[in-house]
């Protein structure tokens, strides 16, 4: 019986793949024909001479810094907002607040960064401000949920002890709960920052600043040399972040 079911599943998958190709009517033969391959080759060749003039490299550096700043501030805002929403979401202010906060977090998280960016470009105009806000909104949803889980899992005794000794709720949170969860909150935030650097470099495609916007503009103006430089800069940024984070992780995990 299980065999039969597995076979049916396999057939369904194959049928799905065939249906996908049939629906899209991809002209793969035309795509990989000599003529079209030559055209694509000609297009690709124009990327082989990146613009490495110092003036352009300076503007690339500015774009990269802008991307970094967007991701850092977006993550910081998200961590603050996430913590604010995580408190009710962890059930500290009653059932109704918990349900409401969780709904809010889910909604923030479900919309991808790029969609938020497109919306924020409408709301706040073109430029890195929109990108920062978009990152902050989506990341607040992600971090808020993780923070809420961390808050729920932390032992309540230290905070209770402070409350019993007459401390205020704020003092109990700051000196009883926060020290226990802070390392975890920081680790989550840094991890999301890493993700956001990658994301920030492509948010510009909808006009939200950073390296992405430079790439979009230079591709639209058919400046392939400049576009190639931006792509190289994006790759360098991502690889740099990867190396730094894996180094830091190794060092910190060992300690």
């Amino acid at each position: 019986m299980k065999r039969l079911l597995d076979l049916g599943l396999l057939l369904a998958v194959v049928a799905g793949v065939v249906a996908a190709f049939a629906y899209l009517q991809l002209d793969l033969a035309g795509l990989f024909s000599a003529d079209s391959l030559r055209q694509m080759g000609q297009y690709a060749v124009r990327f082989l001479q990146p613009d490495l003039s110092s003036a352009y490299l300076a503007s690339i550096a500015r774009g990269a810094l802008e991307t970094l700043a967007m991701s850092a501030l977006g993550t910081l805002l998200a961590a603050l907002a996430g913590l604010l929403i995580a408190l009710p979401a962890a059930g500290r202010f009653g059932r109704a607040a918990e349900a409401l906060a969780r709904l809010l977090l889910n909604a923030l998280r479900a919309v991808p960064e790029l969609v938020w960016a497109a919306l924020m470009v409408l709301a706040a105009g073109l430029g890195p401000n929109a990108g920062t806000l978009a990152l902050a909104l989506h990341t607040a949803g992600v971090l808020g949920r993780l923070f809420a889980e961390a808050l729920e899992n932390t032992p309540p005794e230290p905070a209770q002890a402070i409350r019993l000794a007459g401390g205020s709720r704020l003092t109990a949170f700051l000196y009883g709960t926060l020290p226990g969860v802070l390392p975890q909150l920081l680790a989550y935030s840094l991890y999301r920052w890493e993700n956001n650097i990658r994301m920030a470099s492509v948010l510009g495609f909808v006009g939200a600043g950073g390296l992405g916007q430079m790439l979009y503009v230079s591709l639209s103006l058919f400046q392939e040399a400049q576009a190639a430089t931006v792509i190289l800069a994006m790759l360098a940024l991502v690889l740099l972040v990867d190396i730094c984070s894996s180094q830091l992780r190794q060092r910190w995990l060992k300690a």
Partner: protein, 277 residues
């Protein structure tokens, strides 16, 4: 006796203050670079436009023409993700076989470490996989839209390229992570490498391989929605168009469809992965 205030007794206050000041000093230039300005959102004219846009969200667009369009876009998104994954597998599986150390003949007699020249031959394949996956799919989509025109073809190619890099790397690692003894026994007994892979490695690795592939398919659906924003077809392209036309009700329908699609893919992927255990 008067209890001293909690703040005065905090022994870590000074280092905390200094750390905060340091972080602020580092972030200050970032504030200028990112042009962060929350007040923009509360400017009267921005509020008015946004209010009008969001106000139009309810009721979501549901006239027959738009629903037809929505269905086409949704099917296109699903088909893009599926076709892209199928093409990615065509590249990923051979590349993973080439890049993995699990099928190394020279490793058999060297305690699991392939000869240096054999590792050197694997590096070009690994390098190719790194290049394929380190450019984000949306950048590939942007490039392909210019090379092959607007529409789902660009999205399919972008998914195929990025995901072949990711799948190839992970497959190669999975091949190496399962028990190597059956494969080695087969290789030492003189079987061909492909046969040793099919009968030695694959039975152990199949569950993990399939579950990762299904998970990636789910990611591909999300990615293909987003890629539409650069003109690669599907829901994203429709969303971009509706946003440019300031049609709040259409954007609301599209967002709802997107959420439903993601939930559906999530459920389906959980079901499939559950069956594998």
């Amino acid at each position: 006796m008067n209890p001293p205030s909690a703040v005065a007794r905090d022994p870590a206050a000074l280092p905390r203050l200094l750390l905060t000041l340091l972080a602020l000093a580092l972030l200050w230039p970032g504030l200028a670079l990112s042009e962060l300005n929350l007040a923009v959102l509360w400017q009267a004219d921005n509020l008015a436009t946004m209010g009008k846009f969001v106000g139009a969200f309810w009721p979501p667009a549901h006239d027959a023409d738009f629903l037809d369009l929505l269905l086409t876009a949704t099917l296109q998104t699903l088909a893009m993700a599926t076709a892209g994954m199928a093409l990615a597998l065509l590249i990923a599986v051979p590349a993973a076989l080439l890049a993995s150390r699990a099928l190394s003949l020279s490793a058999l007699t060297r305690a699991g470490r392939p000869a240096p020249w054999a590792q050197a031959l694997r590096w070009p394949v690994r390098g190719l996989l790194i290049v394929l996956r380190s450019v984000p799919e949306i950048v590939w989509a942007l490039l392909f839209v210019r090379a092959v025109g607007l529409g789902p073809t660009a999205g399919v190619l972008a998914i195929a390229i990025t995901y072949s890099g990711m799948l190839g790397k992970v497959y190669a690692e999975i091949f190496e992570s399962v028990d190597q003894k059956p494969t080695r026994a087969l290789l030492l007994a003189g079987s061909g490498r492909l046969a040793a892979f099919c009968y030695g490695t694959l039975p152990n690795a199949a569950g993990e391989l399939l579950s990762y592939t299904v998970y990636r398919w789910e990611c591909a659906i999300r990615a293909s929605v987003v890629m539409g924003f650069v003109g690669a077809g599907g829901l994203g392209q429709q969303m971009d168009l509706s946003m440019r036309m300031f049609a709040g009700n259409e954007v609301a329908s599209l967002l709802l469809t997107f959420l439903a699609l993601v939930l559906l893919a999530d459920a389906l992927s959980r079901l499939l992965r559950g069956r594998l255990q």
